[in-house]
Symmetry: C2
Subunit: 245 residues, 2 copies
Protein backbone atom coordinates (compact mmCIF):
# COMPACT_ATOMS: atom_id res chain seq x y z
CA UNK A 1 0.00 0.00 0.00
CA UNK A 2 1.24 3.47 -0.80
CA UNK A 3 1.46 5.52 2.34
CA UNK A 4 0.21 8.77 0.84
CA UNK A 5 -2.64 9.24 -1.55
CA UNK A 6 -2.14 11.67 -4.40
CA UNK A 7 -4.08 14.35 -2.51
CA UNK A 8 -1.94 14.15 0.60
CA UNK A 9 1.43 15.54 1.45
CA UNK A 10 3.44 13.97 4.20
CA UNK A 11 1.94 14.75 7.63
CA UNK A 12 3.93 16.79 10.14
CA UNK A 13 2.23 15.43 13.24
CA UNK A 14 0.74 12.07 14.11
CA UNK A 15 -1.97 12.45 16.71
CA UNK A 16 -3.19 9.37 18.50
CA UNK A 17 -6.42 8.23 19.96
CA UNK A 18 -5.33 6.54 23.19
CA UNK A 19 -7.97 4.29 24.82
CA UNK A 20 -8.08 1.18 22.67
CA UNK A 21 -5.58 2.44 20.09
CA UNK A 22 -2.50 2.86 22.30
CA UNK A 23 -3.52 1.06 25.47
CA UNK A 24 -5.44 -2.15 26.15
CA UNK A 25 -7.86 -0.55 28.63
CA UNK A 26 -10.03 -3.65 29.03
CA UNK A 27 -7.47 -6.22 30.21
CA UNK A 28 -5.72 -3.58 32.30
CA UNK A 29 -8.94 -2.51 34.03
CA UNK A 30 -10.13 -6.08 34.61
CA UNK A 31 -6.78 -7.03 36.18
CA UNK A 32 -6.78 -4.03 38.47
CA UNK A 33 -10.44 -4.52 39.45
CA UNK A 34 -9.77 -8.20 40.24
CA UNK A 35 -6.81 -7.29 42.45
CA UNK A 36 -8.96 -4.73 44.23
CA UNK A 37 -11.72 -7.32 44.72
CA UNK A 38 -9.28 -9.83 46.13
CA UNK A 39 -7.73 -7.33 48.52
CA UNK A 40 -11.18 -6.30 49.76
CA UNK A 41 -12.70 -9.83 49.65
CA UNK A 42 -15.31 -8.67 47.12
CA UNK A 43 -16.59 -11.14 44.57
CA UNK A 44 -18.04 -9.58 41.43
CA UNK A 45 -18.11 -10.04 37.68
CA UNK A 46 -15.21 -7.69 37.06
CA UNK A 47 -15.24 -8.24 33.30
CA UNK A 48 -18.81 -7.02 33.14
CA UNK A 49 -17.95 -4.19 35.54
CA UNK A 50 -15.10 -3.02 33.30
CA UNK A 51 -17.31 -3.20 30.22
CA UNK A 52 -20.07 -1.30 32.00
CA UNK A 53 -17.61 1.34 33.15
CA UNK A 54 -16.45 1.83 29.59
CA UNK A 55 -20.09 1.64 28.50
CA UNK A 56 -20.87 4.77 30.52
CA UNK A 57 -18.02 6.63 28.76
CA UNK A 58 -19.95 7.85 25.72
CA UNK A 59 -23.16 8.80 27.60
CA UNK A 60 -21.15 10.74 30.19
CA UNK A 61 -19.34 12.72 27.47
CA UNK A 62 -22.59 13.22 25.56
CA UNK A 63 -23.90 15.40 28.37
CA UNK A 64 -20.94 17.73 27.75
CA UNK A 65 -21.16 17.54 23.95
CA UNK A 66 -24.89 18.34 23.97
CA UNK A 67 -24.44 21.24 26.37
CA UNK A 68 -26.53 19.60 29.12
CA UNK A 69 -23.58 20.26 31.43
CA UNK A 70 -20.40 22.31 31.26
CA UNK A 71 -17.06 20.74 30.47
CA UNK A 72 -15.89 18.23 33.06
CA UNK A 73 -12.61 16.32 32.75
CA UNK A 74 -12.64 12.61 32.07
CA UNK A 75 -11.29 11.77 35.53
CA UNK A 76 -14.44 13.32 36.98
CA UNK A 77 -16.69 11.47 34.53
CA UNK A 78 -14.90 8.21 35.40
CA UNK A 79 -15.52 8.90 39.10
CA UNK A 80 -19.21 9.54 38.57
CA UNK A 81 -19.59 6.39 36.47
CA UNK A 82 -17.72 4.37 39.11
CA UNK A 83 -20.16 5.53 41.79
CA UNK A 84 -23.09 4.57 39.60
CA UNK A 85 -21.66 1.08 39.12
CA UNK A 86 -20.77 0.57 42.78
CA UNK A 87 -24.49 1.02 43.43
CA UNK A 88 -25.60 -1.11 40.48
CA UNK A 89 -23.32 -3.99 41.49
CA UNK A 90 -24.21 -3.49 45.16
CA UNK A 91 -20.53 -3.32 46.13
CA UNK A 92 -19.31 -2.01 49.49
CA UNK A 93 -18.68 1.71 49.21
CA UNK A 94 -14.94 2.32 48.66
CA UNK A 95 -13.09 4.62 51.04
CA UNK A 96 -11.84 7.93 49.65
CA UNK A 97 -8.41 6.39 49.16
CA UNK A 98 -9.85 3.29 47.48
CA UNK A 99 -12.00 5.41 45.17
CA UNK A 100 -8.92 7.36 44.15
CA UNK A 101 -7.12 4.08 43.47
CA UNK A 102 -10.02 2.87 41.32
CA UNK A 103 -10.47 6.10 39.35
CA UNK A 104 -6.76 6.11 38.58
CA UNK A 105 -6.94 2.63 37.08
CA UNK A 106 -7.33 4.69 33.89
CA UNK A 107 -3.90 6.25 34.57
CA UNK A 108 -2.23 2.83 34.65
CA UNK A 109 -3.42 1.10 31.48
CA UNK A 110 -0.92 -1.02 29.59
CA UNK A 111 0.06 -0.30 25.99
CA UNK A 112 -0.40 -2.94 23.30
CA UNK A 113 2.88 -4.82 22.73
CA UNK A 114 3.81 -3.02 19.48
CA UNK A 115 3.31 0.51 20.85
CA UNK A 116 6.52 1.62 22.53
CA UNK A 117 8.91 0.54 19.80
CA UNK A 118 6.59 1.92 17.13
CA UNK A 119 6.26 5.30 18.85
CA UNK A 120 10.03 5.68 19.16
CA UNK A 121 10.42 5.03 15.46
CA UNK A 122 7.62 7.45 14.56
CA UNK A 123 8.93 10.13 16.94
CA UNK A 124 12.20 10.40 15.01
CA UNK A 125 10.33 11.59 11.96
CA UNK A 126 7.15 13.26 13.23
CA UNK A 127 5.71 15.21 16.12
CA UNK A 128 3.76 12.56 18.02
CA UNK A 129 0.99 13.52 20.42
CA UNK A 130 -2.23 12.42 22.01
CA UNK A 131 -5.60 13.45 20.64
CA UNK A 132 -7.63 11.81 23.34
CA UNK A 133 -10.70 12.50 25.40
CA UNK A 134 -8.56 11.88 28.47
CA UNK A 135 -7.55 14.94 30.46
CA UNK A 136 -3.99 16.23 30.62
CA UNK A 137 -3.36 14.92 34.16
CA UNK A 138 -4.60 11.47 33.20
CA UNK A 139 -2.64 11.36 29.94
CA UNK A 140 0.54 12.63 31.61
CA UNK A 141 0.45 9.91 34.28
CA UNK A 142 -0.47 7.23 31.74
CA UNK A 143 2.53 8.25 29.63
CA UNK A 144 4.84 8.21 32.63
CA UNK A 145 3.49 4.86 33.81
CA UNK A 146 4.21 3.16 30.50
CA UNK A 147 6.98 5.28 29.04
CA UNK A 148 4.95 6.66 26.13
CA UNK A 149 7.28 9.25 24.58
CA UNK A 150 4.75 11.89 23.51
CA UNK A 151 5.92 15.25 22.25
CA UNK A 152 2.57 16.85 23.12
CA UNK A 153 -0.50 15.96 25.12
CA UNK A 154 -3.52 17.42 23.39
CA UNK A 155 -7.20 16.58 23.21
CA UNK A 156 -10.52 17.26 24.91
CA UNK A 157 -9.31 19.52 27.68
CA UNK A 158 -7.63 22.13 25.49
CA UNK A 159 -10.78 22.29 23.36
CA UNK A 160 -13.26 22.22 26.25
CA UNK A 161 -15.31 19.57 24.43
CA UNK A 162 -15.14 15.89 23.55
CA UNK A 163 -14.41 13.98 20.35
CA UNK A 164 -15.95 13.54 17.86
CA UNK A 165 -16.83 17.26 18.03
CA UNK A 166 -14.89 18.99 15.21
CA UNK A 167 -13.48 21.62 17.58
CA UNK A 168 -11.36 18.99 19.36
CA UNK A 169 -9.44 17.99 16.21
CA UNK A 170 -9.17 21.60 15.09
CA UNK A 171 -7.84 22.76 18.48
CA UNK A 172 -5.10 20.12 18.38
CA UNK A 173 -3.92 21.20 14.92
CA UNK A 174 -4.02 24.84 15.96
CA UNK A 175 -2.06 24.19 19.17
CA UNK A 176 0.73 22.76 17.01
CA UNK A 177 0.65 25.67 14.50
CA UNK A 178 -0.43 23.19 11.84
CA UNK A 179 -3.07 23.08 9.20
CA UNK A 180 -5.52 20.19 9.67
CA UNK A 181 -4.19 18.62 6.47
CA UNK A 182 -0.73 18.39 8.06
CA UNK A 183 -2.07 16.22 10.90
CA UNK A 184 -2.83 12.51 10.79
CA UNK A 185 -5.14 10.90 13.32
CA UNK A 186 -4.13 7.38 14.28
CA UNK A 187 -7.06 5.45 15.74
CA UNK A 188 -8.61 2.02 16.05
CA UNK A 189 -12.11 3.48 15.68
CA UNK A 190 -13.73 4.25 12.37
CA UNK A 191 -16.04 6.95 13.75
CA UNK A 192 -13.11 8.87 15.24
CA UNK A 193 -11.28 8.76 11.90
CA UNK A 194 -14.42 9.86 10.06
CA UNK A 195 -14.75 12.91 12.30
CA UNK A 196 -11.05 13.75 11.84
CA UNK A 197 -11.28 13.32 8.06
CA UNK A 198 -14.27 15.67 8.03
CA UNK A 199 -12.12 18.53 9.29
CA UNK A 200 -9.29 17.71 6.87
CA UNK A 201 -7.03 15.38 8.86
CA UNK A 202 -5.20 12.52 7.23
CA UNK A 203 -6.15 9.16 8.70
CA UNK A 204 -4.52 5.92 9.82
CA UNK A 205 -6.58 2.97 11.03
CA UNK A 206 -4.76 0.54 13.32
CA UNK A 207 -6.97 -2.48 13.95
CA UNK A 208 -7.27 -3.61 17.55
CA UNK A 209 -9.65 -6.57 17.12
CA UNK A 210 -9.37 -7.60 20.79
CA UNK A 211 -10.08 -4.22 22.34
CA UNK A 212 -13.51 -5.34 23.54
CA UNK A 213 -12.53 -8.95 24.17
CA UNK A 214 -13.56 -12.04 22.26
CA UNK A 215 -17.04 -10.78 21.48
CA UNK A 216 -15.92 -7.60 19.72
CA UNK A 217 -18.14 -6.69 16.79
CA UNK A 218 -17.30 -3.06 15.95
CA UNK A 219 -14.09 -1.75 14.46
CA UNK A 220 -12.53 -5.11 13.68
CA UNK A 221 -11.82 -3.74 10.22
CA UNK A 222 -11.56 -0.43 8.41
CA UNK A 223 -14.97 0.56 7.09
CA UNK A 224 -13.65 3.27 4.76
CA UNK A 225 -10.55 3.66 2.65
CA UNK A 226 -8.45 5.51 5.21
CA UNK A 227 -5.07 6.86 4.06
CA UNK A 228 -3.34 4.08 5.96
CA UNK A 229 -4.73 0.77 7.22
CA UNK A 230 -2.54 -1.45 9.37
CA UNK A 231 -2.62 -3.63 12.46
CA UNK A 232 0.21 -2.26 14.60
CA UNK A 233 2.37 0.78 15.27
CA UNK A 234 5.29 -1.10 13.73
CA UNK A 235 3.22 -1.50 10.59
CA UNK A 236 2.40 2.21 10.70
CA UNK A 237 6.11 3.07 11.05
CA UNK A 238 6.93 0.78 8.10
CA UNK A 239 4.25 2.36 5.90
CA UNK A 240 5.52 5.83 6.83
CA UNK A 241 9.06 4.76 5.91
CA UNK A 242 10.46 5.29 9.40
CA UNK A 243 13.83 3.72 9.94
CA UNK A 244 14.05 0.77 12.29
CA UNK A 245 16.84 2.25 14.39
CA UNK B 1 20.62 23.44 52.45
CA UNK B 2 17.59 21.37 53.32
CA UNK B 3 15.50 20.80 50.26
CA UNK B 4 12.10 21.17 51.92
CA UNK B 5 11.14 23.77 54.45
CA UNK B 6 9.01 22.60 57.36
CA UNK B 7 5.86 23.94 55.70
CA UNK B 8 6.36 22.02 52.49
CA UNK B 9 5.76 18.45 51.53
CA UNK B 10 7.61 16.97 48.61
CA UNK B 11 6.34 18.39 45.30
CA UNK B 12 4.69 16.09 42.76
CA UNK B 13 5.46 18.17 39.70
CA UNK B 14 8.34 20.44 38.80
CA UNK B 15 7.21 23.09 36.34
CA UNK B 16 9.84 25.06 34.50
CA UNK B 17 10.12 28.52 33.16
CA UNK B 18 11.85 27.97 29.81
CA UNK B 19 13.36 31.12 28.22
CA UNK B 20 16.46 31.87 30.24
CA UNK B 21 15.95 29.07 32.75
CA UNK B 22 16.13 26.06 30.41
CA UNK B 23 17.50 27.59 27.23
CA UNK B 24 20.11 30.22 26.52
CA UNK B 25 17.89 32.29 24.24
CA UNK B 26 20.38 35.15 23.82
CA UNK B 27 23.41 33.30 22.42
CA UNK B 28 21.16 31.07 20.34
CA UNK B 29 19.28 34.01 18.83
CA UNK B 30 22.44 36.02 18.16
CA UNK B 31 24.07 33.06 16.39
CA UNK B 32 21.03 32.45 14.22
CA UNK B 33 20.64 36.15 13.39
CA UNK B 34 24.32 36.39 12.45
CA UNK B 35 24.00 33.40 10.13
CA UNK B 36 20.93 34.96 8.56
CA UNK B 37 22.81 38.24 8.11
CA UNK B 38 25.75 36.52 6.49
CA UNK B 39 23.56 34.54 4.10
CA UNK B 40 21.71 37.72 3.07
CA UNK B 41 24.76 39.98 3.14
CA UNK B 42 23.18 42.17 5.84
CA UNK B 43 25.40 43.87 8.34
CA UNK B 44 23.70 44.79 11.61
CA UNK B 45 24.31 44.83 15.33
CA UNK B 46 22.74 41.43 15.90
CA UNK B 47 23.43 41.45 19.63
CA UNK B 48 21.44 44.63 20.00
CA UNK B 49 18.77 43.22 17.68
CA UNK B 50 18.40 40.09 19.83
CA UNK B 51 18.21 42.16 23.01
CA UNK B 52 15.64 44.48 21.45
CA UNK B 53 13.58 41.50 20.27
CA UNK B 54 13.55 40.12 23.78
CA UNK B 55 12.94 43.64 25.06
CA UNK B 56 9.63 43.77 23.19
CA UNK B 57 8.56 40.50 24.87
CA UNK B 58 7.08 41.97 28.05
CA UNK B 59 5.32 44.94 26.38
CA UNK B 60 3.78 42.62 23.77
CA UNK B 61 2.38 40.31 26.46
CA UNK B 62 1.25 43.27 28.54
CA UNK B 63 -1.32 44.13 25.88
CA UNK B 64 -2.87 40.70 26.45
CA UNK B 65 -2.57 40.82 30.24
CA UNK B 66 -4.19 44.25 30.42
CA UNK B 67 -7.03 43.21 28.12
CA UNK B 68 -6.06 45.74 25.41
CA UNK B 69 -6.12 42.81 22.98
CA UNK B 70 -7.37 39.24 23.09
CA UNK B 71 -5.01 36.33 23.66
CA UNK B 72 -2.42 35.88 20.93
CA UNK B 73 0.20 33.15 21.01
CA UNK B 74 3.83 34.02 21.54
CA UNK B 75 4.79 33.03 17.99
CA UNK B 76 2.48 35.79 16.76
CA UNK B 77 3.89 38.30 19.24
CA UNK B 78 7.43 37.36 18.16
CA UNK B 79 6.44 37.95 14.54
CA UNK B 80 4.98 41.36 15.26
CA UNK B 81 8.07 42.39 17.25
CA UNK B 82 10.32 41.14 14.46
CA UNK B 83 8.51 43.35 11.93
CA UNK B 84 8.86 46.34 14.24
CA UNK B 85 12.61 45.74 14.51
CA UNK B 86 13.14 45.13 10.80
CA UNK B 87 11.81 48.68 10.35
CA UNK B 88 13.75 50.14 13.26
CA UNK B 89 17.04 48.64 12.02
CA UNK B 90 16.15 49.51 8.42
CA UNK B 91 16.81 45.95 7.27
CA UNK B 92 15.66 44.58 3.91
CA UNK B 93 12.19 43.09 4.31
CA UNK B 94 12.49 39.32 4.70
CA UNK B 95 10.58 37.06 2.33
CA UNK B 96 7.72 35.01 3.78
CA UNK B 97 10.03 32.03 4.04
CA UNK B 98 12.78 34.08 5.67
CA UNK B 99 10.35 35.58 8.15
CA UNK B 100 9.21 32.08 9.11
CA UNK B 101 12.85 31.09 9.56
CA UNK B 102 13.47 34.10 11.80
CA UNK B 103 10.32 33.70 13.91
CA UNK B 104 11.19 30.06 14.52
CA UNK B 105 14.63 30.99 15.88
CA UNK B 106 12.67 30.78 19.16
CA UNK B 107 11.92 27.11 18.36
CA UNK B 108 15.63 26.28 18.09
CA UNK B 109 17.19 27.72 21.23
CA UNK B 110 19.92 25.71 22.93
CA UNK B 111 19.62 24.45 26.49
CA UNK B 112 22.21 25.42 29.09
CA UNK B 113 24.83 22.64 29.42
CA UNK B 114 23.44 21.19 32.68
CA UNK B 115 19.83 20.92 31.50
CA UNK B 116 19.42 17.60 29.70
CA UNK B 117 21.16 15.42 32.26
CA UNK B 118 19.40 17.23 35.08
CA UNK B 119 15.96 16.84 33.51
CA UNK B 120 16.45 13.10 33.02
CA UNK B 121 17.37 12.73 36.69
CA UNK B 122 14.39 14.83 37.82
CA UNK B 123 11.99 13.04 35.47
CA UNK B 124 12.56 9.73 37.25
CA UNK B 125 11.13 11.15 40.45
CA UNK B 126 8.71 13.90 39.39
CA UNK B 127 6.35 14.97 36.66
CA UNK B 128 8.37 17.56 34.75
CA UNK B 129 6.67 20.10 32.54
CA UNK B 130 6.92 23.54 31.07
CA UNK B 131 5.20 26.53 32.62
CA UNK B 132 6.20 29.00 29.98
CA UNK B 133 4.71 31.89 28.10
CA UNK B 134 5.66 30.06 24.92
CA UNK B 135 2.81 28.45 22.99
CA UNK B 136 2.39 24.69 22.71
CA UNK B 137 3.62 24.52 19.10
CA UNK B 138 6.74 26.49 19.96
CA UNK B 139 7.47 24.49 23.14
CA UNK B 140 6.88 21.18 21.35
CA UNK B 141 9.37 22.02 18.60
CA UNK B 142 11.89 23.43 21.06
CA UNK B 143 11.69 20.19 23.07
CA UNK B 144 12.10 18.08 19.95
CA UNK B 145 14.98 20.21 18.71
CA UNK B 146 16.99 19.79 21.90
CA UNK B 147 15.65 16.54 23.31
CA UNK B 148 13.98 18.07 26.37
CA UNK B 149 12.08 15.14 27.89
CA UNK B 150 8.97 16.95 29.20
CA UNK B 151 6.03 14.98 30.53
CA UNK B 152 3.68 17.89 29.89
CA UNK B 153 3.72 21.16 28.02
CA UNK B 154 1.69 23.69 29.94
CA UNK B 155 1.65 27.46 30.28
CA UNK B 156 0.15 30.58 28.78
CA UNK B 157 -1.89 28.99 26.03
CA UNK B 158 -3.93 26.67 28.24
CA UNK B 159 -4.71 29.60 30.52
CA UNK B 160 -5.38 32.14 27.76
CA UNK B 161 -3.19 34.67 29.56
CA UNK B 162 0.48 35.35 30.30
CA UNK B 163 2.67 34.97 33.38
CA UNK B 164 2.84 36.48 35.92
CA UNK B 165 -0.98 36.46 35.94
CA UNK B 166 -2.07 34.05 38.72
CA UNK B 167 -4.42 32.16 36.39
CA UNK B 168 -1.45 30.78 34.42
CA UNK B 169 0.12 29.02 37.42
CA UNK B 170 -3.28 27.86 38.66
CA UNK B 171 -4.26 26.44 35.27
CA UNK B 172 -1.05 24.40 35.14
CA UNK B 173 -1.65 22.87 38.58
CA UNK B 174 -5.27 22.16 37.68
CA UNK B 175 -4.35 20.52 34.36
CA UNK B 176 -2.19 18.07 36.31
CA UNK B 177 -4.91 17.36 38.93
CA UNK B 178 -2.62 18.89 41.54
CA UNK B 179 -3.01 21.38 44.30
CA UNK B 180 -0.79 24.45 43.84
CA UNK B 181 1.21 23.39 46.92
CA UNK B 182 2.15 20.15 45.14
CA UNK B 183 3.82 22.08 42.30
CA UNK B 184 7.24 23.68 42.30
CA UNK B 185 8.15 26.40 39.82
CA UNK B 186 11.76 26.28 38.67
CA UNK B 187 12.88 29.63 37.30
CA UNK B 188 15.83 31.94 36.91
CA UNK B 189 13.64 34.99 37.50
CA UNK B 190 12.67 36.27 40.93
CA UNK B 191 9.45 37.92 39.77
CA UNK B 192 8.19 34.68 38.21
CA UNK B 193 8.88 32.81 41.45
CA UNK B 194 7.16 35.52 43.49
CA UNK B 195 4.01 35.22 41.39
CA UNK B 196 4.08 31.42 41.71
CA UNK B 197 4.64 31.59 45.48
CA UNK B 198 1.66 33.95 45.74
CA UNK B 199 -0.69 31.23 44.48
CA UNK B 200 0.87 28.57 46.73
CA UNK B 201 3.58 27.00 44.54
CA UNK B 202 6.86 25.84 45.97
CA UNK B 203 9.83 27.61 44.41
CA UNK B 204 13.30 26.82 43.09
CA UNK B 205 15.63 29.56 41.86
CA UNK B 206 18.30 28.46 39.40
CA UNK B 207 20.68 31.32 38.76
CA UNK B 208 21.56 32.02 35.14
CA UNK B 209 23.90 34.99 35.56
CA UNK B 210 24.78 35.11 31.85
CA UNK B 211 21.24 35.06 30.47
CA UNK B 212 21.48 38.71 29.40
CA UNK B 213 25.18 38.62 28.58
CA UNK B 214 28.04 40.28 30.41
CA UNK B 215 26.04 43.32 31.40
CA UNK B 216 23.30 41.43 33.22
CA UNK B 217 22.04 43.25 36.29
CA UNK B 218 18.76 41.56 37.25
CA UNK B 219 18.30 38.08 38.63
CA UNK B 220 21.96 37.32 39.20
CA UNK B 221 20.96 36.18 42.68
CA UNK B 222 17.91 35.08 44.61
CA UNK B 223 16.22 38.12 46.12
CA UNK B 224 14.02 36.12 48.50
CA UNK B 225 14.46 32.92 50.47
CA UNK B 226 13.02 30.55 47.88
CA UNK B 227 12.54 26.90 48.91
CA UNK B 228 15.55 25.96 46.81
CA UNK B 229 18.37 28.13 45.50
CA UNK B 230 20.94 26.60 43.17
CA UNK B 231 22.89 27.32 40.00
CA UNK B 232 22.13 24.32 37.77
CA UNK B 233 19.63 21.54 37.11
CA UNK B 234 22.23 19.08 38.43
CA UNK B 235 22.27 21.07 41.65
CA UNK B 236 18.48 21.00 41.72
CA UNK B 237 18.47 17.22 41.23
CA UNK B 238 21.03 16.84 44.03
CA UNK B 239 18.99 18.97 46.43
CA UNK B 240 15.86 16.97 45.57
CA UNK B 241 17.77 13.74 46.26
CA UNK B 242 17.41 12.40 42.74
CA UNK B 243 19.71 9.51 41.97
CA UNK B 244 22.52 10.09 39.51
CA UNK B 245 21.62 7.13 37.30
Amino acid sequence: MSSFGSKNKEPKALLFDVFGTVVDWRSSAINELRSYGQSRGIDANWEAFADDWRGLYQPSMEAVRSGTRGFAILDDLHRESLRTLVNKYELPRPSEREEEHLVTIWHRLKPWPDVIEGLYRLKKQYIIGTLSNGNIGLMTRLAKHSGLPWDSILGAEIAGDYKPQPVVYRAAAKALNLDESECMLVAAHNDDLAAAANVGFQTAFVSRPDEYGVNQVRDKHATQSWDIVTDSFSGLADLLNCSRY
